[in-house]
């Protein structure tokens, strides 16, 4: 499972830290470990984060806010929000359906299915964009020519209908759905597996229908895990760069998302504007981390009682 190793279900309810122990490393070892760990994290995490905000504000607050006056930036922000607003709910519905059938039932081929769901994490973002080019691009598989033959195919049809996918918003959305595909599902599967089916069975024996059982019993039980998956999915959806950059065509004001706008501005040596847009994305990342810690904290609070 080549994805982020973070998962709510994998979190221990309480860590062993803080329990006083007699058997432990000598003081000097603890000091060395702490120093090395904190220095490493400081260099690799804190510094880059600080750099984003410092660079954005290098020419003062005025210049920082002036960066957001650019209509291209507006359209990039808008497109990013739109993409996430489509990709996240789509993967949310999928994640719940996939977790339901995988966690609640036994069937052959289940572990294969789980592996397939994880596939997008194993694929380079660049390749994620490429495969949609191959299908929908005019040069591509479902373009006018299939392989080396000359069969008219989907791309041509889409073209006739005047539906643009590649170098347009639908392509960006599709590529984003692909790269964020597993987030919700892989969060919910272990969670629902550890919760078991007893509460659902209890609801059924009390006369609840399938949907009633889902809405009133299952969903309230998984809501924090669901929320957790959604914020991770959202962070990736808004921040995806590689896949989107392949398929977007980077038409300014039309097909640039915020990360692409950062690249364009940076390559134009408009460093303050690039970092200003980047600072919004960094803020998004920070909010994501805060929400994530909050959910983990709540989870640790409630779990021992379950």
């Amino acid at each position: 499972m080549a994805g982020p190793a973070t998962s709510l279900a994998g979190k221990p309810a309480r860590t062993g830290a803080g329990t006083p122990r007699v058997i432990r490393n000598p003081l000097w070892v603890r000091v060395v470990f702490m120093t090395v760990a904190l220095l490493f994290l400081g260099c690799f995490l804190l510094l880059p984060l600080a750099a984003v905000f410092a660079e954005a504000l290098r020419k003062g607050v005025g210049a920082y806010f002036h960066s957001f006056a650019d209509p291209d930036v507006h359209s990039a922000i808008w497109l990013t929000l739109l993409t996430a607003a489509i990709a996240v709910p789509a993967n949310l519905v999928f994640g719940v359906a996939a977790a339901w059938c995988i966690a609640k039932y036994d069937f052959r081929g289940k572990s294969l299915l789980v592996t397939f769901i994880d596939l997008p994490f194993a694929v380079s973002p660049v390749i994620s964009g490429l495969i949609y080019m191959l299908i929908f691009g005019l040069q591509g598989w479902l373009g006018p020519y299939l392989g080396s033959g000359d069969h008219p195919w989907f791309g041509e049809w889409f073209n006739q209908q005047d539906i643009k996918i590649v170098f347009a918003v639908p392509g960006i959305v599709l590529a984003t759905i692909f790269v964020t595909f597993p987030f919700v599902a892989r969060e919910l599967i272990p969670l629902m597996q550890t919760q078991g089916n007893d509460e659902e069975y209890a609801a059924l024996t009390l006369g609840a229908s399938g949907w009633q059982t889902f809405w009133r019993v299952t969903l309230p039980n998984i809501k924090w895990g669901l929320f957790y998956g959604v914020i991770l999915c959202n962070a990736r959806a808004m921040g995806e760069f590689g896949a989107v950059s392949v398929i977007s065509g980077k038409i300014r004001g039309e097909t640039t998302t915020m990360p692409l706008q950062v690249e364009i501005l940076y390559n134009e040596n408009n460093s303050v504007a690039a970092f200003a847009v980047a600072s919004l994305l960094a803020l998004l990342a920070l909010v994501t981390l805060v929400l994530k810690s909050f959910i983990e904290w709540r989870h640790a609070q409630t779990r021992p009682s379950a």
Binding site: M1, A2, P4, A5, T6, G10, K11, P12, T15, G16, N25, P26, R30, F33, A37, F40, L45, L47, P48, L49, V52, E55, W100, C101, Y105, R108, L113, F116, I117, L119, A122, V123, P125, V126, I127, L130, I131, M133, L134, I135, Q139, G140, W141, E200, L204, S209, L232, A235, R236, F241, S245, V246, P259, V262, E263, Y266, L284, A285, V290, S293
Partner: protein, 298 residues
């Protein structure tokens, strides 16, 4: 997936949820991914081999896989220490540091890329003193051991050269080892260490003979995850790599370059090589996790 047979269950919704899952999975993931393989199948074997073994392509594999490996190793070492500190020690701000470890998951890669440039470029915060040190060090090495192409291997610069790629890949791979080790460490019973102590082992023996072997499967899994992530990484690397063909051009960038030249076949052929490598890694990681789960259950 034709052989999906459910044991009849009284919980409703199996057909609906599995049906939806399979259709969505096929449309979004399986069919598009197979497009890459079908497209490549249209090439002759000789064409394929020529494309994927061209010198520039092979150089990009070496750079991508080599530096990814190095970054994953460094992450395994430091990640292990970070996980240990986060699980075992209490200190003010531990919660915040713990949350911050996930930053590379949450921060868009493009932002990470330009931030690392701002830090390590010759005029950057860290670069303005570290870059000359690095260049000086490489030059000294070249003077002592002249028969190795030190500048070629290590790059005379930090940013816009191979060290930059290493920095970016270390950044994005950082959380994997920490997050894989943390739950294992937290669940490691203190009794194990206490037992070792009562049996007369000193702290070093306990660490190396009792704790380390317990952690090893998780450590390897975390390492493999970080490595898998690094070989596909694009966003954070392109800004800082310098992107010189044969020297600091990573494979994902090469795929994009081919695409921009409308060489879809070439791009796809290289992509297939990368996909196969990723799938093999995914398989290995799954096996590793199965192994470590069995190992821990005991």
């Amino acid at each position: 997936m034709a052989s999906v047979v459910s044991r009849r269950s009284v919980l409703p919704g199996f057909g609906l949820s599995l049906g939806f899952t399979l259709v969505y999975l096929s449309l979004i993931v399986l069919i598009p991914l197979s497009a890459a393989f079908i497209k490549t199948a249209g090439m002759s074997w000789a064409d394929f081999v020529t494309t994927v073994s061209a010198p520039r392509v092979v150089a990009s594999y070496k750079i991508t896989f080599g530096i990814s490996l190095l970054a994953a190793l460094v992450n395994a070492f430091f990640g292990g220490i970070v996980a240990w500190v986060l699980v075992r020690y209490t200190f003010p701000g531990r919660r915040m540091v713990d949350a911050l470890v996930d930053l590379p998951f949450a921060l868009p890669t493009a932002v990470a890329g330009i931030a690392l440039c701002a830090l390590y470029a010759r005029n950057g915060w860290v670069g303005h003193w570290l870059d000359p040190l690095w260049a000086g060090g490489v030059a000294r090495l070249a003077a002592w051991v002249p028969w190795i192409d030190w500048a070629g291997w290590l790059g005379p610069k930090l940013a816009y050269d191979r060290p930059g790629i290493f920095l970016a890949l270390t950044f994005i791979g950082l959380p994997f080892v920490v997050r894989t080790l943390q739950p294992v460490l937290a669940e490691l019973e203190p009794e194990l260490e206490e037992a070792a102590a009562t049996l007369g082992a000193n702290r070093w023996q306990t660490m190396t003979r009792v704790i380390f072997p317990e952690l090893l499967p998780a450590l390897i899994t975390g390492f493999a995850l970080a490595f898998a992530r690094a070989i596909g990484e694009y966003g954070s690397v392109v800004f800082i790599a310098g992107n010189q063909p044969l020297h600091s051009e990573i494979t994902p960038l090469l795929i994009i370059t081919k695409l921009e030249q409308y060489d879809y076949r070439g791009a796809t052929a290289i992509a297939v090589v990368m996909l196969v490598a990723s799938f093999v890694l995914l398989l290995l990681i799954n096996l590793l996790q199965k192994w470590s789960r069995r190992y821990y259950r005991l």
